[in-house]
Symmetry: C2
Subunit: 309 residues, 2 copies
């Protein structure tokens, strides 16, 4: 029943002289996704973006940027290399490649160190690990950017570990539905005006993409009791909106611990459940971009239930 | 510079009708140690016990019991199987096999699940994981005991992660010596009457065994900056003595987080540095033995230093 929910994440920006990524055909994106060992389940589009729901997470394509998240035992680095090769190195303005700490890293096809080898044959850049190896940590490779005047991106990720309570129970039940999950999480209320595309996996697991103008949101839920993990990412631009959404989801999903990763944005913790702020890091990665990492934990002793093996 | 400090641990008791384990010759123990991919560095003995210092941790042999800890990428399970085969299954009264969560589990030769396969071909028993996969956790296999009236063992382990401060700096310096480490940790004061056998590894790393009558102590230090780990284990019998020793070492080594694993013994936290008690578990594993797991963390936000890769 184990499923690795933790995602690998890549964001690729292309230079201004490159044609729109959205003009590339479906075959192109299907090849990219397959190279990561995932597949496209569905697609929705608006004026700004094509959003693909994948068998393992999601792919968003804007004119000048792509964002791809893959969980499970996928090989996202292969998709990055394929993109760079197909688009040509001169078309690449920047690449940001991340991995979160995995529940069972020894079951992965590659480690982050392994992934760095092919990345560094194609791109120069810096790589970091933030956070200790014995608890939540994040790996980041940031290529040297060739376009210094790139508009800074602002987006935030909330990663939740070990969800509990009524909503968590529902997500593990055989009574759940896409409509039911959207309703329990209040997604139509939290993301008004967004158009959604979601999918319920068997026996459980849930993914949703949302688009509203140039804004996106994506949520991926791995509810398995011993290794539950929920991620949400969005580029909604107001701190107050984003962290209010995060607070509401934290209170609904009641995770034992959670991390916030934030690009060029202050973290606001108002409304977060009672917590202990375990660790934090402010990491400038180039002239434009600063990432903040924050780890939180519920402020009460957890009585651990031994798992019989 | 990475070294996996986290230990695998086995305790084997033999039945009353089996001859003393101490009568087995040096060849026997050398074979056992080599099968785990370690080697014997030195040996000391008293009336009760032979204590071997290993290239990766330690081995203690009493008349009716052996205790072996191995760190790094050792294959302790192979030593367990060799012992069971050499001694004969009928000689085995009980086996308790543990692994702690590793810093880089994907670099290990086997996972705990892998280890269970050979163990279960030789021994019936129960296996547990205590603690979440994304943070400190402990695996335990406990064989069904064939001797219900075994005297309950009482011992305690303190595992420290990410040590900081003057003593930690000394342990990473080229000025350290065995005598200097014993003095800085105050081991002669904390363990009066004990005879010690210790070893300093190059470029750093330190192991010490201590014996006093039927009591033992063993400390293993992996001071490497990004993955420091210190373990201490002893069967000193008074809670007050043990946890006072643990408190003093915690204050000297100043770890970011620590775990206490205790067999048939209450944990006393008096004198521990200011901490948040993250999680706990009381696990009865048979009629005689109850293990307590406790995880602690320093009660202040840690500013993480990114590691350049």
């Amino acid at each position: 029943m184990f499923f690795e929910g933790s995602e690998k994440r890549v964001e690729v920006r292309v230079s201004a002289s490159t044609g729109s990524l959205r003009l590339l055909d479906d075959r192109f994106w299907a090849d990219v996704v397959v190279s990561a060992k995932a597949e496209i389940l569905s697609k929705m589009s608006n004026e700004f973006c094509d959003a693909y729901l994948l068998s393992e997470s999601c792919l968003f394509v804007w004119d000048d940027k792509l964002l791809m998240l893959t969980c499970g035992n996928t090989t996202l680095v292969d998709a990055v290399i394929l993109c760079v090769d197909k688009l040509g190195q001169s078309a690449i303005a920047s690449v940001s490649y991340q991995r979160k700490s995995e529940y069972l890293s020894h079951l992965q096809t590659s480690s982050f160190s392994d992934d760095l080898l092919p990345l560094r044959t194609k791109l120069s850049g810096v790589a970091y690990r933030v956070g200790h190896l014995d608890t939540h940590h994040h790996y980041l490779f940031a290529s040297d950017t060739t376009c210094p005047v790139l508009e800074p991106k602002t987006n935030s990720e909330l990663l939740m570990y070990h969800i509990k309570g009524a909503v968590a129970d529902y997500l593990r039940s055989d009574k759940q539905s896409c409509e039911g999950i959207r309703h329990m999480l209040g997604l139509e209320v939290l993301f008004p005006n967004f158009t959604f595309d979601d999918h319920l996996f068997a026996p459980f697991g849930y993914s949703i993409n949302g688009l509203w103008e140039d804004k996106y949101m994506t949520i991926h839920i791995t509810p398995q009791e011993q290794s539950s993990y929920v991620s949400i990412e969005t580029n909604l631009h107001s701190e107050l909106i984003v962290f209010n959404i995060f607070s509401i989801l934290l209170n609904k999903l009641n995770p034992q611990s959670w991390d916030v990763i934030s690009f060029n944005r202050e973290v606001v913790t108002d409304g977060f459940p009672p917590h202990f702020s375990v660790a934090s890091c402010i990491l400038p990665i180039n002239d434009n971009d600063t990432i903040q990492f924050n780890q939180y934990q519920q402020l009460k002793n957890e009585v651990l239930l031994p798992e019989l093996l």
